[in-house]
Subunit: 188 residues, 2 copies
Amino acid sequence: MKYPEGVKKNYVHTNISHRNRGMTLEADLNVTNDYYLKQKKANIHKKPTPIKLVKVEYNIIKEAYFKEPSTTDYNGIYKGKYLDFEAKETINKTYFPLNNIHAHQIEHLRSIMEMGGIGFLIIRFTTLNETYLLKGESLLLFLSTKKTNMPYNYIKENGYLISDKYIPRVDYLQVIDQIMEEKNEKKN
Amino acid sequence: MKYPEGVKKNYVHTNISHRNRGMTLEADLNVTNDYYLKQKKANIHKKPTPIKLVKVEYNIIKEAYFKEPSTTDYNGIYKGKYLDFEAKETINKTYFPLNNIHAHQIEHLRSIMEMGGIGFLIIRFTTLNETYLLKGESLLLFLSTKKTNMPYNYIKENGYLISDKYIPRVDYLQVIDQIMEEKNEKKN
């Protein structure tokens, strides 16, 4: 479970200790999306975490629960196209565990692609310090094998390595440009 | 402030009493969007309300606050196009108070339109039982007058009345089809 910065955590899940090593993927994507917006290049946002409110007193939430999201976390518009993706990081070096992505989110990505949108994953191997963009098509192809862990090599071979920069930090739109070009070449 | 159903409200704002009269616009849009999704017509969702978490104990939120949204509430894809809108209802009969829409949300709609997306408002006059779709262009045009209340007549003349149906309840994509046709006619 992710907690934004500044949250008092009485219960800290042990597998989030790697966060202290540097910026999280979420934080990197936030500054990247802010940069894209200021440059008038794209308008892409992270959706707020869905919450089930139970008790609210004088506009202060006193009891609420995290809900499972029914869509991916990020969507927006780039070059007139609808973009939609989920971003995940893993400390594993040899595979990405697919239970990180909920069934709803996979169905959502499938639906987006059927409707002509660009659906994808951004996967960071934190230990290797490598971030990949994996097209929705490659995700669905792998899921058809019914395997629960996606090997690092599958992502390395079928995904696109996102170069690590200072500004913008995770320049995934550079990869989207490449994908759009490849699609145009196929058409012609 | 809107509370989802089932929330214990210790503080009830007086202007939400009209909600008891029938379905709210938000609920109507939720069932409409569910219908569109099931029909594979469009994939449009309401974003969760942004929350600032302060205290979380064993995955239960014990203290949190509502944050002002930086985007509109609804976005998604229809016929390959990026759609983005805000939905509001008012009990006024003669005007729609523009302080219902935050400055951030207006800038967001402006940005979406500049990038080739379709941005609009859905406004319901609950007392009149009339729901209108107002194009982002008509909103920005009115805002340039610096007036704070948008007259009902402006919306009636420049907006599109959304017909009240059983299924889907608020068929706003019918209006979007009309707007897309008008745009194509202008091009030709």
